[in-house]
């Protein structure tokens, strides 16, 4: 490890060691309180009864836990359906992105058709356009597709297809493909492999790490999105879980709403705990280095 702001030797000696120990303990306790504390409050708060939640000072542990709140949230908001919808949209967006964005990045990196760089430039330019600016014309496009005059409202394609237009993921994939040595590719071409075959049996197996990072981004983006699914999935049967909770929040007791919010967050937290290593290293190493 290279040296950082403070030298290793300074931290080992008497006073430095003491200060370091105190700092470490402070950071561990402080960060746990700041980042896990609210989550603990949320999970236990949703277990409290309506009267207990209004009590001052608030109780640290629910005195009379009401698991019924979670069961109520599950049935009243039809969370099974909402979670299934969200999962279905996320999975479809992931598949569409893996197939189409990988193919596009491969073409831009290895096949390099004429005007390829211009197309890449136009794709990257969309990163400069804030989502909010495009939301109205995108919505107008989705409710009445040009030429064919179809509406995609309440259709999963309204989430899947716009998800493919993700310049950041194409950029990540292309940059990774660029680093694959040309020799490896030309050997395959010599052997008469088609571009599809080369992509499938040479490029993709090497690219597993970046495919993992892109997949994680693709799934979490759909799970976290709010305004777009709210606009294009107006029916109660097609809503995502975030939108469903919001729609119910008006006339539902707050403990039930928070219990539903906890349930909606569980899949992402579990997902994070499983893929935590690749997420953190993907962001620190693959993110914006250079």
């Amino acid at each position: 490890m290279t040296r950082t702001l403070i030298a290793e030797s300074q931290l080992r000696r008497g006073r430095g060691r003491l200060v370091y120990g105190l700092l470490l303990a402070g950071v561990l306790v402080g960060f746990t309180l700041i980042f896990i504390g609210p989550l603990y409050w949320m999970v236990t708060g949703a277990l409290k009864s309506g009267t207990e939640i209004a009590q001052t000072p608030p109780t640290l542990f629910p005195t009379d836990p009401q698991p019924q709140n979670y069961a109520d949230a599950w049935s009243r908001l039809n969370l099974a359906k909402l979670l299934f919808n969200t999962f279905y949209y996320a999975l479809g967006a992931l598949l569409f992105q893996l197939v189409l964005d990988t193919a596009a990045a491969y073409a831009l990196s290895k096949l390099r058709p004429r005007f390829g760089n211009a197309i890449l430039g136009l794709m990257l330019a969309t990163l400069m356009i804030p989502a909010m600016v495009l939301i109205i014309p995108q919505y107008v496009t989705v409710i009445d597709l040009p030429l064919v005059h179809l509406s995609l409202l309440d259709s999963p394609f309204a989430i899947w297809l716009p998800a493919v237009a993700n310049a950041f993921n194409i950029f990540l994939l292309k940059r990774f493909f660029d680093s694959i040595p040309e020799d490896l590719m030309s050997a395959a071409v010599m052997d008469g492999a088609t571009p599809l075959r080369t992509l499938w049996s040479i490029v993709l197996p090497i690219s597993r790490p970046i495919l993992g990072v892109v997949s994680i981004f693709a799934v979490t983006a759909v799970w976290k999105d709010f305004l777009w699914p709210k606009l294009v999935m107006p029916s109660p049967e097609t809503r995502t879980v975030s939108v469903g909770i919001y729609a119910f929040s008006g006339g539902t007791p707050m403990n039930i709403v928070v219990a539903a919010a906890v349930i909606a967050a569980v899949p992402t937290v579990v997902f994070f705990l499983i893929f935590q290593k690749s997420i953190v290293s993907g962001l620190t190493a693959g993110g914006l280095k250079e």
């Binding site: 470490l24 950071v27 237009a165 939108v243």
Partner: protein
């Protein structure tokens, strides 16, 4: 970004020109076939809407009939009583979020980079809120943290520390800081991890040399850490301005949209209001174009400033 413009190794130059050209043509076709799906999606959901947004902002559709109306939509949207309030609030949020959400992740990254223990745990901890659906996290803040009575988490903590409690979302002055705190908690993890990556690239000799010159910790941060991460710092500032200018879900969930005395109305919320409640998609599109121009202005200033530094 060097990879985008990397010179293409010309493997075909040694071959006879005619077969090379034929080969090139076939390669092009295969290339376009691989690109087709993504290009279709970009065209339909990014490039076309970009043009359409501008076109729409000069039109008006009534009962299915679309006519050109010049600057009417712009003048209507500028005269909306909430227009200037929304801009004031949005810029207020951007500035506060820049102070809190920009400096804090940087110093958290410096701190985490110095700690030799529990590295994985602390990095995961900071990033955890980023994974939560914003709607979930914001309901937590709305109901349990920003409860204006003393039963709320924040007021209970303030009371414990013998500090004055706050009405949070019920107070027009506390609304903005409350939205900034919630937003920073939810979003800072990404910035921390990106700064950490940048910090790890600083050569250790620079710190050594500074220390030999008698520079203390703070001076080393100012003379080594900040200059060495300048590029990523300024890029993140730009990205953060773009992100915070789109403030939407915080006012929608925490403040039910407008908030106490319009203290939460944001430009993005006004776009949503006009487009979907006032049946004024054209006015909303015009406001979108105004927002784009303002952000382009920020980008121009950014490019200018970063060009001057080099």
């Amino acid at each position: 970004m060097a990879t985008i413009t990397a010179p293409r190794p010309d493997v075909q130059s040694a071959r006879p020109p005619i077969s090379a050209r034929r080969r090139r043509g076939r390669n092009d076709l295969t290339g376009y076939a691989f690109l087709a799906g993504a290009v279709f999606c970009f065209a339909l959901f990014s490039w076309y809407p970009m043009v359409r947004g501008v076109v729409m902002s000069f039109q008006r559709t009534r009962r299915g009939v679309t006519t050109w109306v010049g600057w009417d939509n712009y003048s209507r949207i500028v005269h909306d009583p909430s227009f200037w309030t929304a801009w004031k609030n949005t810029l207020h949020f951007t500035v506060l979020a820049l102070i809190l959400g920009y400096a804090v992740p940087f110093f958290v990254a410096i701190l985490l980079n110095e700690l030799r223990h529990a590295k994985g745990y602390l990095r995961a901890l900071v990033y955890l809120p980023v994974m939560l659906p914003p709607a979930s996290a914001l309901f937590l803040f709305k109901y349990y943290a920003y409860d204006p009575s003393d039963a709320g988490l924040f007021n209970a903590v303030l009371k414990l520390l013998h500090l004055p409690t706050s009405q949070w979302m019920q107070s027009s002055t506390a609304t903005m800081p409350a939205m900034v705190i919630a937003s920073t908690w939810m979003n800072m993890g990404g910035a921390v991890l990106i700064y950490l990556a940048a910090l790890q690239n600083i050569p250790g000799e620079l710190y050594e040399a500074a220390e030999l010159d008698g520079a203390g910790i703070w001076r080393r941060i100012v003379t080594v850490t900040i200059p060495q991460t300048r590029l990523i710092l300024s890029l993140m500032a730009m990205l953060q301005i773009v992100a915070t200018m789109q403030l939407f879900i915080e006012p929608l969930i925490l403040a039910n949209g407008a908030g106490t005395q319009d203290s939460a109305t944001s430009v993005a919320y006004l776009i949503y209001q006009h487009g979907f409640f006032q049946n004024d998609l054209n006015g909303a599109a015009a406001l979108g174009v105004i927002m784009l121009i303002v952000l382009a202005g920020f980008s121009a200033v950014y490019v200018r400033l970063s060009a001057r530094q080099d």
